[in-house]
């Protein structure tokens, strides 16, 4: 893991210090105390989550760019969670399954796997025209719409 050079303001916390405690003061001033070990553990989890969060953002940007290149073939793209994994759901123009899109999606799937190592992700073609059509595949309210004409609230509710 990379780290900045220590300065005179650097605070050192050693997980092996089983007596030490750290007082943390968040923005709302609701102070709390953690052991040194828990402080190190929380920081590691936070940094790990930052890396995953950055990668999800990068995957979303990658998929949005790809979808733009498929204008006229792809109607909508969503990114969300399915069975604990990231999933890219591609809805083709016309609302029906498009066999001619299959190999293109496989190459997108492979490109994502090669470029983004932290988040396992699958790409799926899902025919349909409304967000509701995705409900048997993933929880619709948990999907981020990354490409396609934005739907009105009435359309989303359909």
């Amino acid at each position: 893991m990379s780290c900045a050079e220590p300065t005179q303001n650097t605070i050192r916390i050693d997980a092996a210090d089983d007596q030490g405690q750290v007082v943390l003061t968040p923005e709302d001033q609701d102070r709390f105390v953690l052991s040194c070990r828990d402080t190190v553990r929380c920081a590691s989890i936070g940094l790990g989550w930052n890396a995953i969060s950055d990668e999800i953002d990068a995957i979303v940007r990658h998929v949005a760019e790809w979808a733009k290149s498929q204008h006229g073939v792809v109607e909508h793209c969503y990114v969300g969670i399915r069975e604990g994994h990231l999933v890219v759901l591609v809805m083709p123009v016309g609302g029906s399954l498009r066999p001619d899109l299959a190999s293109t999606l496989t190459e997108l799937d492979i490109a994502i796997a090669e470029k983004f190592q932290a988040c396992p992700c699958d790409v799926l073609q899902i025919p349909g025209s409304s967000l509701d059509d995705l409900s048997t595949i993933a929880y619709p309210q948990g999907l981020a719409h990354v490409y396609g004409k934005r739907r009105s609230p009435e359309q989303v509710a359909q």
Binding site: L105, A113, Q125, I137
Partner: protein, 137 residues
């Protein structure tokens, strides 16, 4: 002595017999049966390669797409997996899988996966051709 590989090979061939018995009325089940043939075929390869047998589709997919040795299999497996999900979970008209596409996935994609598995695993397995009666075959 029966091995993990033998067990999955038996399921693969059993599913294959089921696939060939299906009527043209059921393209959704043709795709699904073809997919489960492919799943057990790749598991045979994992077993002969001494790769831990994945317990979920997601783990299996990650191994197939991220391992150079299996990358070509993934190119045929991914559309089969995707279409089997559509066939099982989506309803007509959107989720409809044409008989022509179902036959195409079984005859081309499954066939390519099986060829790769036999070649890479070195198993002695002769597979009868996947020919379907009726229309669209």
């Amino acid at each position: 002595m029966s091995t993990v590989s033998d067990g999955h090979q038996s399921k693969w061939l059993n599913n294959r017999r089921f696939l060939l018995s299906l009527d043209d009325e059921f393209p959704d089940w043709i795709v699904t049966a073809a997919f489960y043939c492919a799943l057990h075929a790749v598991t045979v390869l994992f077993a002969t390669d001494q790769v831990s047998i994945p317990g979920t589709h997601e783990l299996r997919n990650q191994i197939l797409k991220r391992t150079t040795r299996y990358r070509n299999i993934w190119r045929f497996y991914h559309p089969l997996w995707n279409t089997s999900i559509t066939a099982r979970y989506m309803c007509p008209p959107n989720g409809e899988v044409s008989l022509e596409y179902a036959h195409n996935l079984a005859k081309n994609n499954l066939h390519e996966i099986e060829k790769s598995v036999v070649k890479l695993s070195g198993i002695d397995q002769v597979l009868p051709p996947l020919s379907f009666g009726g229309t669209g075959a």
